[in-house]
């Protein structure tokens, strides 16, 4: 083994800088923009990301497996692959599937990063490893933040990245002239005091955090305006990145790896918290984001070289592979996924990440293990739900959205479908069908696959909010025999969930009211039968809770309804003003079957025609009876 001999660190610095420029400008920016521009659906972009990540992991694995005799050749091969991907994307737009370019990019980048980081001792033999790494990292970040570079088109970014790769090839050709040196970790390998897996976990948390924050800034115009909208901001960012990276490298050379990661974590946590919440604090603290990014990016490159090989452990290249697979590719996938899913960075996640990072980087080994577990548990706590809906406006979109969240949370989909099958009896039972494309616009669609209860696609024009409110609180008083649970707890004081759910149900089918009215009008009522005895038996369980046992509109639920139920014995009946027998029967049958939209009078859609006819006959004859007779008949007494 030869001792490291002093050599020019410039090619190594250029190699690191070129790698980062390619990653930042092309892999993380231009390629995604190009894919987004050509994606036919949101799923296509995600598929591209999967190809990119898959290629990256494969490239890292291959780099770890195949040592090669010359590190310089391996690095050259990586730059050539990356450069080819950038050129393909820039020069052949539309002619080559971007998924293939993404896979090639991932493959090249995975190979390149592992070979660069895994050979850092060779690149900087005799030179301050940390500072050189920081210089390469900082220069790359600074270059990418130069306004002319930053604001160019995705295709321009691709060409610049290709140029960076060409520079990388040149640098690696100079590396080839250097004598290979087998060197152990430098004296500054303070990271060895921490197990590699713990540093790996800390880096994963940092990349996760960074990716989520990056996507958040990209997705929110107000945050973009705050961070990288003007030339002044970009120049500031460039300077901050360079200074932070150099500082990080300098600290690394003094054996302060854990301090660098801790500072990076603190910066990212504060910046992420303030960015996620917006307001004046975001203006004050957003610069901590580039500080944190540059600090940990420098450490990420140097870490495989700065950690000692444990007994029976893996070498620098294998450590680099694990680091970039788990922290780099999977960490960023989790961060991007979280930001896309949550549209923010949850406070619970920040807290958990903070606890985990603090103890992993600062505590004793045992304390770190305990805290890592605690951090994981914290991380796993359900995210606070934003369900607070105002009762004031049931047509308000946010109230309806909150009601939908309640519908999902309570698992209503396990008993209720929201899919009326076109051309089937469903349409008569549950209202008009709707185009599939409309359902698929929902996130997520809720067709359900079981009907323990009725279909709810059009429940808004079949049941009034009054009825739904009562039914949710005491289902079997309105629907005897129903297996529906009581949800009275959702309506307790100060709990907005019940009213939000009622508002959501009212919104379902609000656009099909006319079509439903046409269905009802087209329905042919069953012929009159003289089976009022059967009708009387049905009246008790189906009608008496509102209309009362005596049919006078004084049932136990009557007081809870905005519109009092009709007095079926002596009062006027809606929609039955022309009191000829046939018309009365037809109108009554329709009301019994389909209810009266806009009132608490609900239909009995699943009653058989015979039962509808019997009930209609009974109700039709009520005017000829006294209240006592009605009560006697409906209770079944002789």
């Amino acid at each position: 083994m030869k001792a490291p001999s002093p050599s020019c660190p410039l090619p190594g610095i250029v190699a690191i800088a070129a790698t980062y420029v390619f990653f930042l400008l092309f892999a993380e920016f231009a390629l995604l923009h190009l894919m987004e521009a050509r994606a036919s659906s949101p799923g296509a972009l995600r598929l591209g990301l999967v190809w990119l990540g898959g290629g990256g992991v494969l490239g890292s694995l291959l780099a770890a497996r195949f040592a090669g005799r010359s590190p310089a050749s391996a690095i050259t091969l990586g730059f050539l692959t990356c450069g080819a991907a950038a050129v393909l994307a820039a020069s052949l737009p539309g002619r080559i599937p971007l998924e293939a370019v993404a896979a090639l990019t991932g493959l090249g980048l995975g190979w390149l990063t592992v070979n660069v980081a895994g050979n850092l001792h060779r690149l900087f033999a005799g030179a301050p490893l940390g500072l050189c790494t920081g210089a390469g990292t900082g220069l790359a970040y600074a270059f990418c933040n130069v306004p002319a570079v930053f604001t160019t088109s995705p295709t321009g970014h691709a060409w610049i990245s290709a140029g960076a790769c060409a520079l990388g090839v040149l640098a690696s050709s100079l590396l080839a002239a250097l004598e290979p040196v087998a060197a152990g970790p430098p004296s500054s390998a303070a990271g060895a005091r921490s197990p590699f897996w713990m540093l790996l976990a800390a880096c994963t948390a940092l990349v996760w955090l960074d990716s989520a924050a990056f996507l958040l800034i990209q997705e929110r115009p107000e945050l973009r305006a705050l961070t990288w909208a003007t030339s002044g901001q970009l120049w500031t960012n460039a300077a901050v990145h360079l200074a932070a990276a150099l500082l990080g490298g300098w600290l690394l050379d003094r054996g302060l790896l854990r301090l660098v990661l801790t500072l990076a974590g603190a910066g990212l946590l504060v910046a992420s918290f303030t960015l996620a919440h917006g307001g004046p604090a975001a203006t004050r603290w957003h610069l901590l984001y580039p500080v944190g990014v540059s600090l940990y990016s420098t450490a990420l490159v140097a870490l495989p070289a700065l950690t000692r090989r444990p007994p029976g452990g893996v070498g620098a290249r294998a450590r680099a592979a694990w680091l970039y697979i788990l922290a780099g590719w999977i960490g960023s996938a989790l961060g991007i996924g979280m930001a896309l899913d949550q549209r923010t960075i949850p406070d619970g996640f920040l807290l958990a990440a903070g606890v985990a990072l603090a103890v992993m980087l600062l505590g004793s080994l045992r304390g770190r293990s305990v805290a890592a577990s605690a951090g994981l548990v914290l991380l796993c706590l359900p995210a606070p739900r934003s369900g607070a809906a105002d009762r004031a406006d049931p047509t308000d979109a946010s109230t309806i959205a909150a009601g939908r969240a309640v519908y999902i949370a309570e698992g209503c989909i396990h008993c209720h479908s929201q899919f009326v099958r076109p051309g089937t009896n469903d349409e008569l039972l549950w209202g008009p069908s709707r185009p599939l494309a409309e359902m698929l616009k929902e996130e997520p669609p809720l067709p359900g696959n079981r009907r323990q209860g009725p279909d709810l696609q059009n429940v808004g024009n079949r049941r009034s909010p009054d009825w739904n409110r009562l039914h949710l609180q005491a289902p079997r008083t309105l629907a005897p025999g129903s297996a529906m649970p009581r949800y009275a707890h959702l309506f307790r004081s100060a709990d907005p969930r019940g009213e939000a759910l009622v508002a959501y149900l009212a919104s379902l089918g609000s656009d099909t009211t006319e079509a439903r009215a046409r269905q009802i009008a087209d329905w042919t009522p069953p012929t009159v039968t003289d089976n009022s005895e059967r009708g009387a038996k049905l009246f008790g369980p189906l009608c008496a809770s509102c209309h009362g046992d005596d049919a006078r509109g004084r049932g136990p639920l009557a007081a809870k309804l905005a519109l009092p139920p009709a007095d079926l014995v002596s009062g006027p009946r809606p929609r039955t003003t022309r009191d000829t027998a046939a018309l009365t029967h037809a109108a009554l049958a329709r009301v019994i079957r389909f209810g009266i939209p806009g009132t608490a009078m609900a239909g009995h859609e699943t009653l058989s025609d015979a039962d509808v006819a019997a009930l209609s006959a009974f109700v039709g004859g009520l005017k000829l009876r006294t209240a006592a007779e009605v009560q006697q008949a409906s209770s079944g007494a002789p």
Binding site: L334, F419, P447, R451
Partner: protein, 521 residues
Amino acid sequence: MPRASGFSARLGDRVEGNAAQQPSTPHPLAGGPPFPQAGQGLRPRHSSAPPSDCPASGLRSPVCDLADLVARFSLGWLAAANLAGLLLAALLLWPELNDALAPLTYGRWMPLHHNAQLYGWCALPLVGLLLRVFLVPGRAANRHTLVVLAAWSAALLLGAVSWLGGGASGKLFLDWTGAARIGFSLALTALWAVLAHHAFRRLAGENSFGFRVSSFGSAHAAPAAALRPQSSVFSLQPSPTLLRFALIAGLLLVPTMMYFSAGPNLFPPVNPNSGGATGVSLYGSTLGLLLVFAAMPWMVALPLQPGARRSRLTWPILIAALSVFATANHGHGSHHDRDQIITLGLLFLAPPLLARDWRRFVWRPEARGWLVAALVWGALLVADGWITFLPGFSERLKFTNALVAHSHLAMAGLITSVNMVFLLHLGDSSRVQSALGARTPFWLWQLAAALHIALLLALGWREGAAPALVLGGGDTTRLFYLVRLLAGAAMTVASLWWLTASFRNRTSDLLAGAAANRLGP
């Protein structure tokens, strides 16, 4: 020495004697000699001495056997899922019970039951199978097995907390959201990391990467040979490491894809006329399961029956089946479309082909009943699934209890039977063999599952014609639900029996009892 079971055309027959005396063909994924020798299990079978990789103190440790561990975790989730199912059946029968449980009402328990079955009971034996293929035996293997199973179960527990706490995603089959979604992806990542770690350890111990050079003279010749139509990968004897490596690369996509697929804006193709899955989707998902079923004997290195040959049909059939899936219409196909019906109908070929393939291997005697049950349930499942998909039948049965019957046919019938076979072949655990080979719980489960399914199917058929039957909750429905509850209770008892038996010590009583109460003649 227990006898090895031949699952042959003579289902009642078994192959006598030690399979070590039989010609057996190791397969590329098997790192060690095939069953019923020591196999790839973490300790030798029927050995009174500790295995080399498992010291005496370790032998007494529960961490020392892959089969034991996987069985305990899997059966634990089966029992948990069944208990949740039992509660659900009771809540349907006595809805007032919901008041006592509020806010933990029916809808919050459903995802727990559903997902404990899907991601606990159904998935963990497959996880065990992967571990069986990848792990390099040793102390680390035992520790890593425990880590993977614990991480997986922790993710499921987190999911349980989430579902019961109202953290559902609204998607029926990928109900992971918020922290639970991240936790599950991390558990998958942990599994992948362990598999990759062991794959790397194997790589480090090999001189060549890829195909076995000695077979072909040069490493470059092998890929070309692999393209020969009459060849199969297995007959080429590629390096097991290559296959493992390929599998590792493929598995890497799983955590990310699972994470993204669970998102609210990705939804599978929908049958525009029924709101359910398309025929091609059903065909694809079933095909995936069938591939695992067919690969299982290779993955656990089962020896071939004396005189049995490698099937020349395996690869052409596999390629044809995958080609059908690749070229089928993956859009929103209707059950009125002829191609969807025909594609789904191709699954009728699966049970006989699978039976033919499985017959060529020597199985453990305790697995024979489960194998027969798996094929019977599989055939019924295919028939039920296809008929339910047909126009007319779909309109009548979709959204009814018949669909619940179909789910139970798949889970309680087919998957449970196959999983028991998996568990029996993960290693040489006498506890697992005694537990899963016992006759009484086997028949209790099978009969109760059959009754459960028949009841729901009958109720669904009636409900399809008269929805009020279930919506109104009349006496007939309550009677159906009561009997169904009893059947569910019987299945729960069986699962608890297996779970407790998997923890029992190897006492002479147990062995004697098991010997007298073993499945098979």
